[in-house]
């Protein structure tokens, strides 16, 4: 009897805990649906007739009409949207209007390159921001710390293409000539085979990310070091490095996790400009090219992929932030 009621409580507990997550997921699904509708309508509203673009100026009216029927352009707009959405869900992303290749294939290449770039950037960014943040906290209010704070303000205010162009001038074209200014990676090759082509685009993303996260680490470490718990450890005579790495750092990591997911989202959102700057062959540069060529299926696919990745990282950041808030409320009630 008691066991049963405990089980009941446990089930209710799980539901109570799952409910906000389910609500977020449902809300997330609806948001992505709204985003897909927005993309569909925006792409349809692009000037220029698709059939005209494919067949060129010399096409006859009959040829145009036939192609429109083939492409489903004679159907009502809502039906076209449903057909398009169904195709996306089945993995049929259509064919590129500019080169006739399946969009799914083009997208796979771009996604791999962009994911490599963002992945490398994040893999360097997170440990580096811990290191920089801890050093700044240890040297609090000293010269190094002040220089760090100033640089961090500048790095976060300045747009990515400015950071990137300054890096190009420093390392590729003007001061030193050690790295390529343009990231040439042949289609189908892994970006890891061209490590020097990855360095500058990745660094462009890493600098503002580290400067933002390291600041949060710095504040978190300073706060933790001021707690009674660390002061007790100091009184016990633990070595400063042991206090820092075993006690302070683990407590300082928690508050930056949502911020790190947010930086991941910004990294994804920023690929358009950074990839364009370095002509890096990812989803961002593919999107700019597709917009220039009015290549509707490619535009839709790339925007949908970037928006989804951006949304997922934002969702992760949100759920961490909400969990922390809930934990904070529990603590303040206790």
């Amino acid at each position: 009897m008691t066991v049963d009621s405990q089980n009941d409580n446990a089930t209710i507990g799980i539901f109570a805990r799952l409910q906000p997550l389910l609500a977020r997921l449902l809300q997330g699904g609806l948001t992505l649906l709204a985003v897909s509708l927005l993309i569909f309508l925006a792409a349809r509203a692009l000037p220029g007739d698709v059939a005209n673009m494919i067949l060129g100026q010399s096409a006859t009216q009959e040829q145009l009409d036939l192609l429109r029927v083939q492409l489903g352009l004679d159907q009502p707009l809502w039906w076209q949207y449903l057909i398009w959405l169904g195709g996306i869900l089945r993995g049929d992303w259509g064919t590129s209007l500019s080169n006739g290749q399946p969009v799914a294939d083009l997208l796979a290449l771009g996604v791999r390159n962009s994911a490599t770039l963002s992945g490398v950037a994040l893999a360097v960014m997170l440990p580096l921001s811990l290191l920089v943040g801890v050093i700044a906290a240890q040297l609090r209010d000293g010269f190094v710390d002040k220089v760090f704070l100033g640089m961090s303000m500048v790095a976060n205010a300045v747009p990515d293409f400015v950071t990137g162009t300054v890096l190009v001038a420093l390392f590729a074209t003007t001061v030193l000539h050690v790295l390529p200014a343009v990231s040439f990676i042949p289609p189908g090759d892994s970006p890891f085979s061209y490590p020097d082509a990855l360095v500058l685009p990745a660094t462009t993303v890493i600098i503002p990310g580290v400067m933002y996260l390291a600041r949060l680490v710095r504040v978190a470490v300073i706060d933790v070091m001021a707690t009674e718990y660390i002061q007790t450890a100091e009184l016990k005579g633990l070595s400063p490095s042991r206090i820092l790495f075993r006690h302070a750092l683990p407590n300082a990591v928690a508050p930056i996790i949502p911020a790190a997911s947010l930086v991941a989202a910004f990294t994804v959102g920023g690929v358009v400009v950074v990839e364009y700057l370095f002509a890096y062959p990812g989803v961002g540069s593919a999107l700019v090219d597709a917009v220039t060529n009015r290549d509707l299926p490619v535009i839709q696919a790339n925007v949908l992929v970037i928006a989804s990745a951006y949304f997922i990282f934002n969702l992760i950041a949100d759920s961490f932030a909400q969990r922390d808030e809930a934990a904070g409320q529990r603590q303040s009630k206790a």
């Binding site: 809300q27 000037p47 205010a157 162009t165 358009v272 700019v288 917009v291 220039t292 009015r294 951006y310």
Partner: protein, 290 residues
């Protein structure tokens, strides 16, 4: 609490309005000075420019000389004249975008925070949808549909930045609703709009200024990035972001054609950054005291 105060005075005592405390911050002051200086430079720039920014004065990518102090660009136009004339669009579009984002965002945040109810739910959820879309994508899509008109660009930047402002200000306003001075104002029958303007608004002044500085930097960022990727201000107009992309290939031979406009963008964004930084420090200090 101090016994010398009457209950009335005690309940009415609230944090001194934050505006003057913000101006006392060195960083806020330097940020404002920098922005004013940049604005003056941009406004008088076209009048003091030695040449017509659209007319060629020499060979492409000529090095700095007595004729062209910063050399020439990809089409042989004077870099100095183009830099002096190249901030005109940014100088009105960025502040207008930032101000509209903050004003609309704060209005939405304070009204929904104060009145709650279903409008609150609907508004905040629709802002979440906007937040789910990376700003540059929305801007790129819409500009490719409707063309790069300045008014449209400003509207898109506002649409991109405003939801974030609303979220932050709402977060700052909600704890204020339980404070004595707000409850007191409600209890004596002060109308809602008056409470919002007289009690809530002055007490979110620090986060508002943080947002204004931050969003100004970001407006400059989005607008100049759009010019850079070719979907903002169109050639042959002189524009800093556009100059960076036009002269990118000449970076090795004539770096000034790229570095001069870059320096202008950096100075402009740092102005906003300093204001945000100073206001955030003031906020941290007052919160520490509370």
């Amino acid at each position: 609490m101090e016994m010398t105060l009457t209950t009335h005075q005690w309940v009415r005592s609230r944090p001194v309005s934050g505006w003057w405390r913000l101006w006392a911050s060195t960083q806020v002051r330097w940020g404002v000075i920098l922005l004013v200086a940049m604005t003056v430079l941009v406004v008088i720039g076209p009048f003091v420019a030695p040449y017509d920014p659209a007319a060629p004065v020499g060979k492409p990518y000529a090095e700095p000389s007595a004729v062209a102090w910063l050399g020439t660009d990809n089409l042989g136009r004077d870099v100095l004249s183009r830099v002096l004339s190249g901030g005109v669009y940014l100088a009105w579009m960025a502040p207008v975008s930032a101000l509209l984002s903050v004003v609309i965002g704060a209005a939405v945040a304070l009204v929904t925070a104060y009145y709650r109810g279903w409008t609150d739910l609907v508004l905040m959820r629709s802002l979440d949808v906007l937040l789910a879309f990376p700003g540059i994508l929305l801007t790129l899509l819409c500009v490719s549909v409707f063309g790069p008109q300045p008014i449209l660009l400003v509207g898109l930047v506002v649409l991109t930045l405003m939801p974030g402002v609303a979220r932050v200000i709402r977060g700052a306003a909600i704890p204020l609703l339980d404070r004595e001075y707000v409850l007191w104002a409600k209890a004596v029958g002060t109308p809602g709009p008056v409470i919002i303007l007289r009690e809530l608004l002055p007490n979110v002044s620090s986060p508002l200024l943080v947002e204004l500085g931050l969003r100004l930097s970001w407006s400059v960022g989005i607008l100049s990035s759009m010019s850079f990727i070719g979907y903002g201000i169109q050639p042959p107009a002189a524009d800093w972001g556009l100059m960076v992309s036009e002269n990118g290939t000449g970076l090795g031979t004539q770096p000034y054609a790229v570095l001069a406009p870059i320096l202008m963008i950096i100075l402009y964004t740092i102005g906003g950054g300093l204001i945000a930084e100073g206001a955030a420090r003031v906020m941290a200090r007052t919160e520490g005291k509370a």
